[in-house]
């Protein structure tokens, strides 16, 4: 079901994220998805996340659909030119994928094939425009598509805590003008900053699903502060992770922080997007603790 319809019906959207395996044996990934599925509206399938080569997102989405699990097909511009992107979007329509997350994608030099050719024939904005064009029954070159055109719910990402914020808002507005209908955000750890962000984007009238990344330890928090764009884990949270090493190691501290953040952020937005980065089994506990239940 398209997010836009769910949001229109006043539902708070809960999503999680799944990275396909490096190989073609998807049993473990499917199991992870099945554990999370009862608690969420949909599961995002990443596209060679962080430029690390993995099984294709489209195939993983299809495998989820076969288990009656709703996928969100993430599409980046790093690995495919406009022909390949259009083919894959049409293939997604064939499989009955409703929701897309359209991204520019990380640079190839960040991943495990640093010597690869970075494509970036399109970017998140022109990719959105491309999907809109397909929905209008034409390809990017203006040729008419055979039969009924596809229809998707198109999402994109935004970094609410980035500094400076203005370029983010500029791009967000540009994405909306190009056809974006929902946003999933970069991980948020600062409730105040997110509140300010939401006040500024209210006028756009587009649903925002706040991003949550489970903190696995103080090292991860510090690493993200130094290296990941738009993320700032406040010192208090780092201290909290340092306090009880055993509790942090078992994941309990991360779970508690994530649940608390969700509780605080929920009133400000229209959904939550969990990025467990391998800790998929913790998702049900986080959601239970935060007191939100899925409404499908």
């Amino acid at each position: 079901m398209k997010f836009t319809e769910l949001t229109k019906n006043g539902k708070f959207i809960i999503t999680s994220e799944l990275g396909p395996p490096k190989g073609f044996h998807i049993e473990k990934a499917l199991h992870e998805a099945e554990v999370v599925w009862p608690y969420v509206n949909a599961i995002n399938v990443t596209d060679n996340q962080s430029s690390v080569m993995r099984l294709g997102g489209l195939a993983m989405c299809k495998a989820l659909l076969e288990k009656n699990i709703e996928p969100v097909f993430q599409v980046t511009c790093r690995d495919r030119n406009r022909l390949a992107l259009q083919s894959d979007i049409l293939s997604a329509a064939l499989f009955g994928i409703d929701n897309l997350l359209l991204l520019t994608g990380d640079h190839t030099t960040l991943g495990d094939h640093k010597d690869a050719k970075p494509v970036f024939d399109l970017d998140s904005v022109s990719l959105t425009h491309m999907v809109k064009q397909l929905e209008a029954g034409k390809d990017l070159a203006g040729n008419i598509l055979d039969g009924e055109p596809p229809k998707f719910c198109k999402g994109a990402v935004v970094s609410p805590c980035a500094e400076p914020l203005d370029p983010q808002l500029f791009k967000m507005e540009k994405k909306i003008k190009a056809g974006i209908e929902f946003f999933q955000t970069q991980a948020v750890y600062e409730v105040d900053k997110f509140d300010k962000f939401m006040k500024r984007v209210k006028e756009f009238g587009v649903p925002v699903y706040v991003g949550i990344v489970i903190l696995k330890g103080p090292g991860m928090a510090k690493f993200m502060n130094e290296n990941v764009a738009g993320i700032n884990v406040p010192q208090e949270l780092i201290e909290e992770l340092k306090k009880d090493k055993e509790k942090t190691k078992s994941g309990q501290t991360g779970i508690e922080i994530a649940a608390r953040l969700i509780k605080d952020l929920k009133p400000l937005c229209q959904g939550v997007h969990l990025m467990p980065l391998g800790w998929d089994d913790k998702v049900p506990q986080i959601l239970k603790l935060s007191g939100i239940t899925v409404d499908k």
């Binding site: 640079h107 399109l122 970017d123 904005v125 400076p164 983010q168 500029f170 540009k174 990941v228």
Partner: protein, 204 residues
Amino acid sequence: MLITQLKKKEEILPFLKAKTLLVACFGCKEVFFPEKEYQNIKEEFKKLYPDLSGEIVLDYLCNEDYTAKRLELYRQEIEKAETMVVFACGVGVQTLAGLLASKTVLAGCDTFYLPGFSGFTPSSYDCEQCGECRLSSTAGICPVTACSKGLLNGPCGGAKNGKCEVSKIKECGWENIMNKITTTGKVAEKLKESVSIRDYKKSQ
């Protein structure tokens, strides 16, 4: 604009023999040539092979007609030589190889693309000759070359502390653009409305 860099000695040495002629092109504004390094390596080669055929120094090797005439002056040396190691840009090497089809012509240099327009002195500004100049709408900063992904529709969101996601020392071209146009001005409004898609036909 091009820059040429001498190949590693180890790469050239196996080709050197008595009947080898060195050809160096020292003259054009398009190519930055490592003249000093060339002189050094030449002296080394001469020591190793006291009977090298010799050396020809030319300019504008890439100009075929001009070079054909100039080669006449060195006909004897060329006739004696079997191989020629050419220290010039890729175009120069190809020109000489075309003119001297019976000789083995080898490249002594690697050729790199260098920022700056052809015919100008080296510059820190880079142009990829995309054929659809966007500078008027991007505050004079080229998004094709100043952004690591060549993005045309705004920053990717990967920048941290003003630096591009690919390197902590490379500035984010789009953050520089956004800083210069200010996100609220008229220019930004126009940029916000448009969806830019590159036409690769124009740069092929």
